[in-house]
């Protein structure tokens, strides 16, 4: 079995792959994940792979901010717990997300726009490999966390926030925290809920746009948790004048990419024997 683990800033996503198909899709709050599956090994945080269901002979591919917590100290631990070997590989997030997007869409040339909990990644993909990329600057104002905070200020759900793109209230603040005060100012000015929600969606797009413009292609694959925001998807399509594809599981894209990488590496390492599953 191959375990793809995406240790994000807001959520940990786990996907398993075996026998040519994906099994488990599990999403956990990051803090809860480290509380329930974290271990102290030599004073460092490690992930308890056994508790996650990893067994001898399995392959683990991890990515995300916490990826080195999977990759380093628990290798020793795994050796102690299991008699067999557990192969733990750590890959950069951008590569995981590109692999996930290629797998989920079947496309080989596109611009990947991944908007996650705390950061945004844009990658230009040609022939199935990343040719160039850009990420947001040192601020979470173009991320999912910004949308969560703004929804909370407005007292609406993320689903509700994601429905509005018409007649946006104009929000200009560069800083995510100042934007909250600006939003409150707009409420006081008498803008309606729909206009305020649309204003939030347009404000995140204005921050994403310079990254997407620089790496534009004919198709945009929109992934990450924020890809569930239908209004933002419509804004991206309208403003860039191109097709925007949201894969079936946008928030599991990185973990799926990890599985794909694990599968390819296992395939490359072991010559196919008689009776092996055709890939």
């Amino acid at each position: 079995m191959i375990f793809g683990i995406d240790l994000g800033s807001r959520a940990v996503k786990i996907v398993t792959f075996s026998e040519d198909s994906f099994g488990r899709f599990q999403r956990m709050d990051t803090m809860a994940f480290y509380r329930d599956f974290g271990l102290r090994v030599d004073g460092k945080l490690a992930v308890n792979l056994e508790k996650l269901g990893v067994r001898a002979g399995d392959v683990v591919v991890a990515t995300g901010y916490g990826r080195h917590n999977v990759g380093m100290p628990e290798l020793d631990l795994a050796a102690q717990v299991y008699s067999g070997s557990i192969d733990v590989q750590v890959i950069p997030e951008l590569n995981a997300h590109v692999a996930g997007a290629v797998h989920q869409t079947g496309l080989m040339a596109f611009t990947l726009l991944d908007v996650g909990g705390q950061d945004t990644k844009v990658a230009q993909v040609r022939d199935g490999i990343m040719m160039d990329f850009a990420t947001n600057d040192r601020c979470a104002a173009s991320s999912g966390r910004y949308l969560e905070n703004m929804a909370s200020v407005l007292g609406v759900s993320l689903d509700e926030l994601s429905r509005h793109e018409e007649s946006p209230a104009n929000l200009n603040s560069t800083c995510a925290v100042f934007a909250e005060s600006e939003l409150i100012g707009k409420i006081v000015e008498g803008h309606g809920p729909s206009s305020l929600c649309a204003g939030v969606n347009w404000s995140i797009w204005r921050r994403l746009r310079p990254l997407v413009e620089r790496l534009r292609s004919g198709v945009i694959v929109f992934a990450g948790g924020v890809a569930r925001n239908g209004a933002l998807k419509a804004i991206v399509a309208q403003e860039m004048g191109c097709e925007v594809i949201v894969p079936e599981r946008p928030d599991f894209n990185g973990a799926i990419g990890c599985c794909v990488r694990g599968r390819d590496d296992v395939g490359a390492r072991s010559p196919r024997r008689h009776g092996d599953t055709e890939r």
Binding site: Y65, I91, P92, E93, L94, N95, D119, D127, I129, M130, M131, D132, F133, T135, D137, R138
Partner: protein, 342 residues
């Protein structure tokens, strides 16, 4: 001149021949700031005195370093480096530090540069004969630094970090050119004696660094740990004054690319990327620095992958920058594989 302090602070590279000819000791404040045991504290100290959070940490570190080391005279580059330095120098002056202004001309005009160097010579009590004689002595030291640079990209016997540290130190030769020459000579003899076999590392990714010297402490270590090699340090190499030795002082500082228009830097970058077979560039930019804007032109002109990496405070790379570097090196590797398959 009896009232001149023995140590003269520099905020960036200037015609250092003038100081050595006058029997003075130049101290590059950037170097004593970043090699201090607590560089982050120097930045904080400047902020406590009122320097804004959103200005360059190099400027703040230089400021505190000058005060901490009781530097009595600072040559402040008022054109050709950074306008924040201009204001920082005024604050130093308000604290009793003597500020000697120096400007690299824009456009790059020999007459104006000569006039600026002559103003420095008048201030420090020396003349062209002494300055040119000093240059001829320093030429020998610079030749060693440029030889180290050649070994970096031709043999791989010299790491990107070694190249960086020796090149960047050519701004003041650590205040003692003779000792610098001896130490660098020893290092070169050791590096030249290594067999060239399998040192070129054809399989590894060849990177170039462009932009100001990085404030982050482990950039080279991290990049080389990812299996890439740094074979070009753009600005640092300029500190060693590449070019024909037979030039006079004014011509050498006219050929020096950093303080003039970006076009001159681009021509140098283009030539070196090609000559050194650089696969990709890291464009290091300092937070809040005007050089960030030049990234637009760099990307228009240089046709290899470019990662723009921003650094703010002294210290190790943050998790985000490490992630971007890892992704970049892996991307370069995948591109190389794809190219070789075609």
């Amino acid at each position: 001149m009896s009232n001149v302090a023995a140590k003269i602070g520099l905020v960036t590279t200037i015609p250092v021949e003038v100081l050595f000819a006058a029997g003075l000791v130049p101290v590059d404040l950037n170097n004593i700031f970043i090699t201090a045991p607590d560089p982050a504290k120097l930045v904080e100290q400047a902020e406590l005195e009122g320097f804004p959070r959103n200005t360059c940490s190099w400027v703040k570190g230089i400021y505190t370093a000058a005060l901490r080391h009781n530097i009595g005279t600072v040559i402040a580059v008022m054109r050709g480096d950074c306008s924040n330095n201009e204001a920082m120098a005024e604050v130093l002056r308000s604290k009793g530090v003597e500020i000697v202004p120096f400007s690299f001309p824009y456009p790059r005009d020999r007459r104006f540069l000569v006039a600026e160097i002559e103003r420095l010579m008048d201030r420090f009590g020396t003349n062209w004969d002494e300055v040119e004689a000093t240059k001829r002595q320093l030429d020998e030291v610079r030749a060693l630094a440029l030889r180290l640079d050649e070994l970096t990209w031709q043999t791989g016997n010299v790491t990107g970090f070694e190249n960086h540290i020796w090149s960047v130190s050519c701004s003041d030769f650590n205040g003692d050119p003779a000792l610098f020459q001896q130490q660098l000579g020893d290092l070169l003899r050791q590096k030249e004696s290594i067999s060239r076999d399998d040192q070129d590392g054809q399989a590894s990714i060849r990177l170039g660094f462009v932009g100001v010297p990085p404030i982050v402490t482990d950039l080279y270590e991290h990049v080389e740990g990812l299996g890439a090699r740094v074979v070009f340090n753009e600005i640092q190499r300029q500190f060693a004054m590449p070019g024909p030795a037979e030039r006079d002082v004014a011509q050498m500082y006219l050929d020096y690319t950093y303080p003039y228009d970006f076009e001159g830097r681009l021509a140098d970058i283009e030539a070196e990327v090609s000559r050194r077979r650089v696969d990709a560039l890291i464009h290091y930019v300092q937070s809040f620095c005007h050089h960030q804007i030049q990234d637009i032109i760099l990307r228009q002109r240089i046709k290899v992958p470019i990662l723009t990496l921003e650094g703010d405070r002294p210290g190790p790379l943050d998790a985000r920058s490490r992630m971007r570097l890892e992704a970049f090196v892996e991307m370069c590797r995948q591109r190389a594989v794809a190219r070789s398959l075609k």
